[in-house]
């Protein structure tokens, strides 16, 4: 959950990028890191294997500016997507304020998307969260690939609750900031409710 520091007038929130292995979660963060001006970002940390697969998490701290005199800081995390890292994924979800589900648009990853989304719901429930009550967005990544399914098909199976959804090509940055901005907005709007 967010950390509101009235003393230093700071709002700190945690956003988690979730999705199946190789869907582009880390690539989203890398693009954000590369395109953010130095004073607005901290160091990006990747706890990865030797083959550059996420082992525990990626972490990127961002400062988005001030809102009513409060500095807003967002801590972006990715989870390891590979199925067998489930214990680690659960840990990363602790204290989450908003979730972005990154789906891989390729037809052959359809089942992996479904499995990962079910896993997200289950792991959130274990922590006492309900995905339907959390700030939540979906990104259909890899739209540039020839074997990408249509957005309508993906939306039907992966976005039953019709949360904001975006088409993405994380390698070139398409949709990356739109996704982040919407999620950050939803998190701040939730914070305003103070519920």
């Amino acid at each position: 959950m967010s950390f509101i520091n009235y003393s230093s007038r700071e709002i700190n929130c945690k956003l988690v990028y979730y999705g199946p292995g190789l869907c582009g979660k880390t690539t989203n963060l890398q693009y954000i890191y590369n395109k953010t001006r130095p004073e607005a970002k901290g160091k990006m940390i990747s706890l990865a294997t030797e083959t550059e697969r996420t082992l525990f998490f990626d972490f990127l701290p961002l400062s988005l500016g001030e809102i009513r005199g409060f500095k807003t800081r967002f801590h972006l995390y990715t989870v390891p997507g590979q199925v067998f890292y489930d214990a680690s994924r659960k840990l990363i979800l602790k204290g989450v304020d908003g979730v972005c589900f990154v789906a891989d648009s390729q037809e052959e990853r359809y089942d992996a998307n479904i499995e990962s989304l079910e896993n997200l719901r289950l792991n959130l429930n274990e922590q006492g969260y309900d995905l339907d009550k959390l700030p939540y967005v979906v990104q259909y990544n890899k739209r540039d690939l020839p074997n990408a399914m249509s957005v309508a098909e993906l939306s039907k199976s992966l976005n039953g609750t019709q949360v904001p959804e975006f088409e993405g090509v994380a390698t070139t940055g398409v949709g990356v900031f739109d996704t982040l901005k919407m999620l950050a907005k939803l998190v701040l709007a939730e914070l305003r409710k103070g519920t």
Binding site: N5, S7, K43, R68, K181, K185
Partner: protein, 161 residues
């Protein structure tokens, strides 16, 4: 709000008390730096030579480390491992829990000993627990709801770059 993981808030009054305890712990234990980090990876307070450190990255990694250790404890049917100690050639680190939400980090060098650090940490923990309990109560109070007057326009303005 998720009852298992309530929002953390910090106010001037409590921060002063926490800062005083952290400063004294740093001096009494002859440590380099003291960090207080919430289990979600947010830095809450720091003392000593913390300005030399990348405290944002450290906070995230320490929280990840404690979360992983907590996961191991759960698998072994332990409630929690309350402390961790990592010894380096120059710098060592002592991690301990304050209540259920906060991690107390002591970074120290050859200027002191692990025994002295642990001894002083115990006293600081006892003093810190009631302060964070009070903060947890305040966080649940509706009049402390953050930013009630924030507008859609305020949020939109953040992204007009």
């Amino acid at each position: 709000m998720n009852p298992m993981n309530p929002q953390l808030v910090m106010f001037e009054e409590e921060l002063k008390q926490i800062q005083k305890i952290a400063d004294r712990l740093q001096q009494d234990s002859r440590a380099r730096s003291i960090l207080l980090i919430d289990k979600n990876g947010q830095l809450v307070a720091a003392a000593g030579a913390a300005h030399e450190l990348d405290t944002t990255s450290l906070s995230s990694l320490v929280a990840g480390n404690v979360a992983a250790t907590g996961g191991i404890a759960k698998l072994l049917q332990e409630d929690e491992f309350t402390g961790q100690f990592h010894e380096g050639k120059g710098m060592s680190i002592n991690l301990s829990l304050v209540g259920r939400r906060i991690i107390l980090v002591v970074l120290f060098d050859k200027n002191t000993t692990p025994g002295l650090v642990r001894l002083r940490v115990k006293r600081a923990q006892d003093e810190l627990v009631p302060i964070f309990e009070e903060l947890a109560k305040k966080a649940l109070s509706p009049q402390n709801s953050p930013l009630p007057d924030i507008t859609d326009q305020d949020i939109d303005n953040l992204f007009n770059d």
